[in-house]
């Protein structure tokens, strides 16, 4: 008797594609092996590819470029060394390649913070190469002068000369200080600008490994611009608007008197000593 011909099992391909899409939406990627029965996989992967997803040998994922841009646009500062942890479904090498492409295309900016190289949104205030060279030269001259003076016994430099050199090297720094020194209080109509300054101060003072900014340093930094009281108020204001998280001090008498003074009063007799920007909290 002739053998009955085996009929291929029918698959609900639409359902498989829908399941895969749902998984990718939530997890950013799905393994090819999880796309359903083997005979159906090629169809599902092709459909997903046509929908704009990236297909590799083993996974289907949201495009790495999209994932990386999204991470950076949400305010994350992405260290070059840990690209891989900000994307899913790709290797560290792939993530790095994509990040470099985006940087070359001008969609992300590469900056140096401390000893680490970091990717930031192009909207972040950075210097051009020429601006960097000008500042580097100006500061270099100042450093040489200070070093020379410090090596000679009984010789010093004029404070006004140092200030002048810094003004030449960093005109934006002194400009902002001058413009804001006139109003030490945070004016209501200037709130947005103040919040941006708070953000900038938090970023500038952020401890890279902790991801937190030490409030006494933030207040001191902001205080040069707007006065200490206004700086403290602006931090509290940013916190009350849900833009900044203020954290109570948990150390064992680690703060000195000056630092304690600059910290903000917290609940139940605590002092707020650390701060960070809340993800997605933009002014």
């Amino acid at each position: 008797m002739a053998k009955a011909r085996k009929t291929a099992p029918a698959f609900d391909l639409d359902r498989l594609v829908a399941q895969a899409r749902e998984h990718i939406e939530s997890e950013a990627f799905v393994k090819v092996s999880a796309l359903g029965p083997a005979p159906a996989r090629s169809h599902v992967t092709e459909t997903l590819r046509s929908l704009g997803f990236e297909v590799t040998k083993s996974t289907v994922r949201r495009p790495l470029r999209e994932q990386l841009l999204e991470a950076v646009s949400q305010g994350a500062f992405v260290p070059v060394k840990s690209f891989a942890s900000f994307v899913r479904g790709g290797t560290a090498k792939e993530a790095k390649g994509v990040a470099m492409e985006l940087a070359q295309e001008g969609r992300l900016a590469r900056v140096i913070r401390g000893s680490a190289e970091i990717l930031v949104p192009v909207s972040a205030p950075t210097y051009t190469r020429d601006e960097l060279l000008v500042r580097s030269r100006a500061l270099d001259t100042l450093v040489k002068t200070l070093t020379k003076a410090s090596k000679l016994k009984g010789v010093s430099v004029l404070r006004s000369d140092v200030v002048e050199s810094i003004e030449e090297a960093l005109p934006e720094f002194t400009r902002s200080a001058r413009s804001s020194s006139a109003t030490s209080e945070v004016a209501h109509d200037g709130k947005e600008g103040t919040i941006l300054k708070v953000f900038a101060a938090l970023d500038a003072m952020r401890d890279e490994s902790l991801g937190l900014s030490f409030i006494p340093r933030v207040v001191a930094h902001l205080g040069r611009d707007m006065g200490v009281d206004a700086a403290r108020k602006s931090l509290l204001d940013a916190a009350s608007r849900g833009l900044v998280e203020l954290r109570p001090e948990g150390g064992l008498r680690r703060l000195n008197g000056e630092e304690l003074e600059l910290c903000l009063p917290g609940p139940q007799g605590t002092r707020l000593s650390w701060a960070r920007r809340i993800e997605g909290g933009t002014s």
Binding site: L210, L212, G250, G251, L252, L264, P265, T270
Partner: protein
């Protein structure tokens, strides 16, 4: 059972206790959205470890993560949440650092195996580990280890052994460097019964097993220190195939001596780095206070240690106003009796202020809730911070907060002691040494210092009459105990020695050689033998735990606010009467009675008896309990305790006593002080 507050509302004890997270609590309110990212980060690492172990086992490595936050931000809660959420899919181990000496691989091995015996979602972690491993090796899904283990249990002994042999071969085929004998016993342990299982777990934990235990499991010797890393490697590797081990090192700020890094911190960093290099499949989580980590711990790590330990850092987030409200609601919903509908116990205005206050940790929220339930008035936090209610230097009257903390520590210590006794083992000598070091803070003119690591004496006692070595003898095997006694005999020639051993683990009459060595030690005339009573063990463990918690900001005062170490020390000094503890008095030579060993030897000489049961306590006698005033006498022994416990203890001594009689007696006594309605203590100086 509940506690009545000022208004007469019943506040459940679990609610009050929740201010301090218990890593092993089964029933704990949890808001999943809070710190979801930190949970996911750890969860992702567990999944990654398991996947790599299954797909590319030869490339498997360990992974490390640092979790930071202020006191009360939910570090310990995070452990409890992950344990409940992942349950049998991972094995969770929670370790507080040792204070007296650097942590060793053997200490960690002991903690890991001890906690394998703890249950999550009703399943013992050891069974979860073995069940999911065996399921994976058999090609079955590892999601239901219990079911798979039950199948093995139904097999005949011979069949099961054959299947386990096969599993061992499979694992050794993947990783040839594992310890075969360790692996065999690990896989056999879930199927062993009673004493055999206890012996196996004792051996697996690296503890010093006694002769009977070794014979029971067919071992010739206990695991030595140098095999501990191999044993941990075996454990972590095989666990990674089914339920990876998540080792959480909590309260790391306790490693900082003063404000500077020291040997303990260095020991921790070296051990962590060694784990990362030598173990595979371990998920190592370091938890500490953010400031202490940033200023005290991380700067002291060298680049090599830092690259291994700080693979990723996560600072726990504080609740947003919305999360704060959800958290409060979660708690209020769990209260058994509510006088009004939500937002009771808050008013709308008070609730809005509380949830919007910047810097509110979950613990602070719970404290606010407790205050509201207790009918305390709303206090504007800003004003409070600028003008503290308790002025600097002024010490608030210690009350419920401190006593709660002490009671919790006592409870945990009793559980630890019961577990050790169930295993026929002494409490870890390191923990007792930490307890004695803690006692040293409260003794005038006496210093207790850590000894040299690895030496027979863990501590050095410095008093006006000179130095003495203190050795805590927690050995289970007569030979290893004898060997330490011989070393102490040598040391006694140079410096007086005090040997401590738990009375519950008395020397067996059959340990003739060991007893002879003990006699030889005592005959030097420079040695003293002190039996440590169970109550002393509990006190020492509790004191150590209390001070570590205080350093981590986990102890709160009577208002539920975190208090610093100095205030806790002051409270301990004023209330607990550490210098009067029997073990402390014995150590300082203030005991009224002769050391028991001497008494035993005298009896031995007189009667030519082989061994007699101990009849006299070595430590100074506790207050005798007279027939009348039994409750006060009991309380004088306990010094501070819950009323229920005093009632219970009094009933043991005097079965006819009633609760009312006990309460009346305590209320009438000028020596007794009530802290609220449930806690009683002896007045200082009485």
């Amino acid at each position: 059972m509940g506690t009545k507050n000022r208004r007469g509302d019943v506040v459940s004890d679990p609610f009050l206790d929740a201010v301090h997270a218990d890593p092993w609590a089964e029933d704990q309110a949890d808001l999943p959205s809070l710190n979801a990212k930190a949970s996911e980060a750890i969860e992702e690492r567990i999944v990654r470890v398991r996947n790599v172990a299954r797909l590319e086992p030869r490339t498997l490595r360990s992974t490390s993560l640092v979790v930071l936050g202020p006191p009360g931000a939910g570090k310990t809660h995070l452990f409890a949440r992950l344990r409940r959420r992942l349950g049998p899919r991972a094995v969770f181990v929670h370790v507080r650092p040792l204070v007296h000496a650097p942590m060793t691989p053997r200490f960690v091995l002991g903690e890991v195996v001890k906690q394998l015996g703890y249950a999550t979602q009703g399943l013992i972690q050891l069974n979860a580990l073995a069940g999911s491993l065996l399921a994976h090796l058999s090609g079955a899904a590892a999601s239901f280890p219990h079911v798979f283990l039950s199948e093995y249990q139904q097999l005949s002994d011979a069949d099961r052994e054959a299947r386990l042999d096969e599993a061992v071969e499979q694992v050794l085929g993947i990783w040839q460097d594992l310890e075969e004998s360790y692996l065999r016993r690990l896989l056999a342990a879930p199927f062993a019964k009673g004493a055999t299982q206890r012996a196996m777990l004792g051996w697996l934990s690296g503890r010093d097993c006694d002769v009977a235990q070794l014979a029971r499991i067919g071992a010739t010797a206990s695991l030595s220190e140098d095999l501990a890393i191999g044993a941990l490697r075996t454990l972590c590797s095989v666990a990674s195939l089914g339920a990876p081990i998540v080792l959480v090192l909590d309260q790391l700020e306790n490693l900082i001596e003063g404000t500077e890094p020291g040997a303990r911190l260095l020991g921790y960093a070296n051990l962590s780095a060694e784990f990362m290099d030598s173990l595979r499949g371990l998920v190592l989580v370091h938890m500490a206070l953010d400031t202490e980590w940033a200023r005290g711990i991380e700067p002291s790590l060298n680049p090599s240690q830092r690259s291994r330990i700080v693979m990723e850092t996560r600072a726990l987030a504080l609740p947003t106003p919305q999360q704060a409200e959800e958290l409060l609601r979660l708690w209020i919903d769990r209260m058994p009796e509510r006088r009004a509908s939500y937002p009771w116990p808050f008013t709308e205005a008070r609730l809005a202020r509380v949830v919007a206050s910047p810097g509110m940790t979950p613990r602070m929220l719970l404290v606010e809730c407790r205050r509201a339930v207790d009918g305390e008035d709303d206090i504007d936090d800003t004003e409070e911070a600028e003008e503290p209610v308790v002025a600097a230097g002024e010490v608030a009257d210690p009350s419920r907060g401190f006593i709660d903390a002490w009671e919790r520590c006592l409870g945990a210590a009793r559980v630890a002691m019961d577990e050790a006794h169930e295993q026929r083992a002494c409490i870890d000598a390191g923990r007792l040494a930490d307890g004695l070091l803690s006692c040293g803070r409260f003794l005038a003119g006496v210093r207790i210092l850590p000894g040299i690591a690895g030496q027979a004496a863990q501590l050095v006692l410095e008093a006006a009459d000179g130095k003495r070595l203190v050795s805590i003898l927690g050995h289970g095997h007569p030979k290893s105990l004898g060997s330490t006694l011989a070393k102490l005999t040598m040391l006694a020639g140079r410096m007086p020695v005090i040997a401590l051993r738990e009375r519950a683990r008395d020397l067996s009459p059959t340990w003739k050689d060991t007893i002879a060595k003990r006699d030889a030690l005592l005959e030097t005339g420079h040695a003293e033998w002190i039996w440590v009573e169970s109550d002393d063990v509990v006190r020492l463990l509790s004191l150590d735990a209390l001070l570590q918690s205080a350093r981590s900001g986990d102890v709160t005062d009577e208002r539920g606010e975190p208090v610093d170490l100095a205030r806790v020390l002051e409270w301990v000094r004023g209330v607990l009467g550490v210098p009067d503890w029997p073990i402390v008095r014995s150590l300082l030579g203030d005991g009224d009675e002769k050391p028991e060993a001497l008494l035993e030897r005298e009896e031995k000489a007189e009667k030519e008896a082989r061994i007699t049961a101990p009849v006299v306590a070595a430590t100074p006698a506790m207050d005798p309990i007279p027939a009348a005033g039994v409750a006060v006498a009991v309380l004088r022994q306990l010094r501070i305790a819950s009323l229920e416990r005093v009632v219970r203890e009094a009933a043991r001594v005097e079965p006819t006593s009633t609760r009312n009689a006990v309460v009346a007696e305590l209320e009438a006594s000028p020596q007794v002080r009530f802290f609220g309605r449930n806690i009683v203590g002896v007045r200082v100086g009485s």
